[in-house]
């Protein structure tokens, strides 16, 4: 009996888990145009939900995420380009809303820091190897 019940509970949980994974658009005012929805979906997986900050606008259930999705729908419907929609959000919430950080003065270190480290590492390697070669050479000439 108990096992049977557990199986049923398990099944219900399994099915309900799948019904929520896709996106959180369930409670949204969905646009009539599939093109608008497609663009919204494409945009909202690139944008951060400010409330639960590691999820995207597409899969957040936070009320603010819903509001922002509705704003984006409105912007798309009124003929704004994808860039304009992103600019609208960046103007209000800062670069943090985009998951791909833009290249500007405050993110320069983030973008170019790794290459800088690589160059420093290479220079150090060359210097150390040259020194070692010199030492070895000196040793060989010893009687």
């Amino acid at each position: 009996m108990i096992m049977m019940r557990n199986i049923v509970i398990g099944l219900v949980l399994f099915i309900s888990a799948f019904s929520f994974t896709a996106t959180s658009f369930a409670q949204d005012r969905v646009s009539e145009s599939p093109a608008v929805e497609a663009r919204l979906k494409k945009l909202s997986i690139e944008l951060r939900c400010l409330v639960c900050q590691n999820s995207t606008l597409a899969d957040s259930d936070a009320p603010l995420a819903q509001d922002l999705r509705n704003e984006i729908r409105k912007l798309i419907e009124t003929g704004n380009s994808d860039e304009e929609v992103v600019a609208y959000l960046v103007a209000r919430y800062g670069d943090f809303v985009t998951f791909r950080p833009p290249v500007n003065t405050s993110t320069a270190l983030l973008w170019f820091g790794p290459f800088l480290m690589l160059i420093i590492g290479l220079i150090t390697l060359v210097v150390v190897l040259k020194k070692r070669a010199k030492l070895l050479g000196a040793e060989e000439t010893l009687p």
């Binding site: 400010l50 409330v51 900050q53 009320p63 603010l64 509001d67 922002l68 704003e71 960046v90 103007a91 209000r92 919430y93 800062g94 670069d95 943090f96």
Partner: protein
Amino acid sequence: MKLKFILPLVLFFVLVAFLGKGLFLDPREVPSPLIGKPAPAFEAPVLGDPSKTFSPADMKGKVWLLNTWASWCVACREEHPLLIEMLAHDIPLYGLGYKDVEKDALDLLDKMGNPYIITANDADGTIGIDYGVYGVPETYIIDKAGIIRYKQIGPITPESLRDKILPLLKALNA
């Protein structure tokens, strides 16, 4: 030769300094791009008196605070007694009722006291979006020219009031 030993030590301390600073940063705090920019314009009905409207344009020439709040917001209740205390400092505090039911908001002000000169009612939260609100309470300090000078994310604390808000208000009013 000495450099070989000192350099790693210096690098180590630089790293410690960065990591140490990181410990005291709040990763949830998103710096507002609106600081130094004009406060977004809006015209919203006054809470409790919807025949009247409030707009930031009415405040030109004054230094004022805009505090976003809601009756459903727990942190706002935490902050509320301090806002009431701020009345004594003669601070022009205006409210923005964020996504609230008007009756609930008025009930809360009845129960806990009303620290606001006026609360503008942003029932659907669109004004909040223009101000980059992502978690009430948030408080903006707006100067005489209508420029946002400071944003407090989360409840105002006695420390932030003493160390940031009051000195800034004094400087802006000077």
